[in-house]
Symmetry: C2
Subunit: 115 residues, 2 copies
């Protein structure tokens, strides 16, 4: 397991969750995977600000932590699909709560929005 996660264990369960899910775009990816399996390129389009390397790293960490499953279809051209594991699907309440709060936060600070 990754070191930040290990450290978080010594403090609080919420900190563990943050360590596993707090990386850039991770929860966004998980959210989209609730709509069904997605290919690498699809995720890249759904999370436009994440470049390939970063997206690959986040997916590998999510895979390492048992949240997503990676399926390679032996084809030419290659096709790789990502889907949620059972542990990943158990994130549904978290994603729902975070999504709702994010919207609430945005609405509350709408006056500070630049454009």
């Amino acid at each position: 397991m990754r070191l930040p996660v290990q450290r978080a264990r010594q403090v609080c369960p919420v900190e563990v969750a943050v360590s596993v899910l707090g990386g850039a775009w991770k929860l966004t990816v998980v959210k989209h995977l609730f709509d069904g399996p997605r290919r690498f390129g699809e995720l890249g389009r759904l999370v436009p600000r994440a470049n390939r390397k970063t997206l690959t790293r986040q997916l590998r960490e999510l895979e390492e932590d048992g949240v997503v499953a990676r399926t390679v279809h032996e084809q030419v051209p290659p096709k790789v699909e990502y889907s949620l594991t059972e542990l990943g699907r158990s994130l549904h309440p978290v994603v729902t709560a975070m999504d709702a709060w994010g919207e609430h936060f945005e609405a509350r600070t709408a006056s500070q929005r630049p454009a």
Copy 2:
């Protein structure tokens, strides 16, 4: 508002929530504040791995984002209390979900625990 939050707005509400709450020890602090107002030193003891500088920064960001309120009591010695704002209290579902998932994750990976 902080830049990471601004960037997250362009992607997804869950990413906004991660940007606001994803800092080290932030959700742990919020969780403890649900038990009532806490002084700076108390929070330092409740989150043992956070040093003063880091804890100060996280609290300032949470204050800036309207999640916590900072109350200075003009005394000698000084006394500063942190409490949740209404926006902070609206985090209750998030903290509950994250805490439960963190425990679930720990239980599931207990075999990999080092000590």
